[in-house]
């Protein structure tokens, strides 16, 4: 009798355990099909000479690590990695600082927060391509109001100067546009985190005689830390994939000064239809992003615990 009950219980337990897995199975299958399958193919193609057109005649040949060797031997790819890292560091730092400062400012406003929030979010709501095209037009040497204004102000030598076509200015111009567009995203997340900071903690700090910076450092920061880390993680991943703006504004030039990994892969992988070569580059990029993201993810997990 006891054995029979135990058996039934055991069967019931198994069924209970299996039920959630059955419910999750379709999602897991779709996820596998949409992520793991393409990833495996990318890994496979990265070891081949797959070219969309040429492979129709010559087939796809496995060439070992040749694509990877070619990539690391290529000075433009090395420049692209450096540019991407430089851009990511600058963009993430500037966007986080500016976004946080704006969030603190808006959060401190006694009224008009909703209007400010909406206005500040506008750049982030625009599609990247639209932003790039708008800035290209604004800063155009012949059509752009900004350059025309500068010329009218007396900078006559800027009459044919386009900031995107000169080594000294191109990188910083693209960075400034990215900061302009993405800081509102950081602002939004930080602002949302600030809403959750208990006002009693500020009151207690005030009673203890804390000044504005001490309140920020000892009350605000610990409370919004996880939000800031999330911003850092998301902006790092997004900045690392920078493509649209560079492709539209500079095409990677001048003199490769704005070439990013994605731009390089587009030029030498996609445009040339060398998908094998492009796959190798894409995998290298994925690994770098993962390396950069791990500390953030670890930190986020530990702070959740």
């Amino acid at each position: 009798m006891n054995a029979s009950i135990a058996k039934n219980k055991n069967q019931g337990f198994d069924q209970d355990k299996a039920f959630p897995h059955i419910l999750m199975a379709p999602t897991i299958l779709v996820m596998l099909a949409l992520t793991v399958y393409p990833l495996l193919f990318t890994v496979y193609y990265s070891f081949t000479d797959y070219n969309l057109l040429k492979s129709r005649k010559n087939g796809v040949n496995v060439i070992g690590f040749q694509n990877y060797v070619k990539l690391f031997q290529n000075p433009i790819f090395r420049t692209a990695i450096l540019n991407t890292v430089k851009f990511t560091i600058c963009a993430v730092l500037l966007e986080t600082i500016i976004g946080l400062l704006i969030a603190l400012f808006v959060n401190s406003l006694p009224r008009g927060q909703k209007v400010m929030r909406t206005l500040l979010l506008l750049p982030y709501l625009l599609p990247t391509v639209t932003v790039a095209l708008a800035w290209r037009m604004l800063l155009s040497s012949n059509y752009g109001p900004v350059m025309q204004w500068l010329v009218n102000m007396g900078f006559k030598n800027l009459s044919n100067y386009n900031v995107f076509f000169h080594v000294e200015t191109a990188f910083w111009a693209v960075l400034a546009i990215d900061v302009w567009q993405s800081s509102p995203f950081v602002f939004l997340l930080c602002y949302a985190s600030l809403q959750g900071v208990p006002t009693q903690q500020y009151e207690a700090a005030e009673l203890d005689g804390a000044n504005i910076f001490q309140k920020f450092w000892y009350v605000t920061v610990p409370n919004i830390k996880s939000g800031i880390f999330l911003c850092l993680l998301l902006r790092t991943i997004d900045s690392f994939r920078l493509f649209d703006k560079v492709n539209i504004l500079t095409g990677g030039g001048p003199a490769n000064s704005t070439t990013t990994i994605t731009q390089y892969l587009y030029t030498f992988g996609i445009k040339n239809l060398n998908f094998g070569f492009g796959s190798a580059g894409a995998l290298i990029m994925t690994v770098i992003v993962m390396i950069l993201a791990i500390p953030y993810i670890r930190n986020a997990i530990s702070s959740q615990k």
Partner: protein, 396 residues
């Protein structure tokens, strides 16, 4: 409620029935190079649709997207595009890989009116026609008349040394003389080619087996090109044309379809004493048919229509540059577009960019090195040596 449901069901059934019974016209899909090239062709579409009871859809793409989309579609059993607009440099790559239909096999042949030199890029070694020269693009020398009048008594320099001297004279006065084209890859390499050619250099040897970028001729050409930059500026296509037209710059190499107010033939030699070269570079836009098109008959009809002398002549008013002698030299043409006489001359004596399958790779590879040399982040020697090495790796 029931009545409404019955009426709605009947309406729905009627709609479906009429859709099935409707005699839908056949649809032809075109993929075109955006800009004047597509615009002039689009003007001719309604008449063809009416005459052939068909519907024509088209998508307009940038240079790079056009190449990529045609290639991506070529791997499908049945293509999404029937008629393709093609750059001359894509011919070898696309015919080698079965992207284009053999128009000779479908019964197409050139007539004598088409400028013979413009047909070469669309014909394979066996004489099979794959691409038809639709838009007579050939590099021309844009200039600002007022500036040339002011600084050179209205005489457009006939030599490259003359261009440099005039540019330096203007630069000393705060005016940009010669404008280089921005954009590593096809834009800057094509912009450099007339100078390279004038100095006796070229990118590949005659049988396309060797890269010839690291040569004394190429070095002299690149150093000269950098001098031109120092005496001028560097801009993208739109700003370049605007600058020359509005007088903030004086000279640049461009294409007839760009809308320059004044242009003439590109200088053919470096100095008065040097050897004359064919420095006008062909960049004709061709029409072709996708090998995987399911509507080859209608597509061929459209190609014949688009190449018709009368249809071609009619495009002139909208900015078209036909590759037909009768259209270019017609009185009505020269009356409204006298500059097309210059284009006719250049079209008859231009130079083709190398007809190799890896040409797109070649310009994408050499472009960044050329750009780096011009910007001064790489020495001329290093740019040419490294560019040569990188391009050699592309040789089959």
């Amino acid at each position: 409620m029931k009545k409404i449901a019955v009426v709605l069901s009947l309406l729905l059934a009627l709609c479906l029935f009429s859709t099935v019974l409707a005699d839908d016209p056949e649809t032809l899909t075109l993929i075109l190079r955006a800009g004047t090239y597509a615009d002039v062709l689009k003007e001719a579409i309604p008449a063809f649709e009416e005459a052939n009871n068909c519907k024509i859809e088209f998508s307009e793409e940038t240079f790079d997207d056009l190449h990529t989309k045609i290639a991506l579609d070529a791997v499908n059993a049945e293509g999404a595009y029937d008629v393709l607009m093609l750059d001359g440099t894509w011919m070898t790559e696309f015919t080698e890989n079965g992207v284009l239909a053999n128009l000779s096999e479908l019964g197409y042949s050139f007539d004598e009116d088409i400028i013979p030199a413009t047909t070469a890029a669309g014909v394979d070694a066996d004489g099979n026609i794959y691409m038809l020269p639709y838009y007579g693009n050939v590099t021309i020398f844009m200039y600002n008349k007022d500036l040339v009048d002011k600084y050179n008594d209205g005489v457009v320099p006939a030599t490259w040394n003359g261009v440099l001297e005039l540019s330096q004279k203007m630069k000393a006065d705060g005016v940009d003389g010669y404008i280089l084209r921005q954009g590593a890859g096809d834009p800057n390499v094509t912009d450099f080619l007339p100078v390279l050619k004038a100095f006796g250099g070229w990118v590949l040897n005659e049988d396309f087996t060797e890269v010839t970028l690291n040569t004394p001729e190429a070095k002299a050409a690149l150093e000269f090109y950098i001098d031109l930059y120092k005496a001028g500026n560097l801009l993208d296509k739109d700003n370049m044309v605007a600058a020359v037209n509005n007088g903030s710059a004086a000279m640049a190499v461009g294409w007839p379809g760009w809308g320059a107010a004044n242009y003439t033939v590109i200088p053919t030699k470096v100095s008065e004493d040097s050897e004359e070269q064919y420095t006008s570079i062909y960049g004709c836009w061709f029409l072709g048919m996708a090998e995987n098109s399911a509507k080859k008959d209608l597509a061929l009809k459209f190609l014949e229509y688009a190449m018709d002398p009368e249809v071609q002549l009619a495009t002139v008013a909208d900015g078209g540059v036909p590759c037909r002698e009768s259209s270019l030299l017609a009185e009505s043409t020269l009356e409204i577009k006298p500059n097309l006489a210059v284009v006719y001359g250049a079209l008859s004596t231009g130079t083709y960019r190398p007809a190799v399958g890896f040409y797109t790779d070649l310009v994408n590879t050499f472009g960044p090195y050329l750009d780096s040399a011009v910007m001064g982040t790489m020495s001329v020697d290093d740019a040419l040596a490294q560019g040569q090495a990188a391009c050699e790796a592309l040789l089959p």
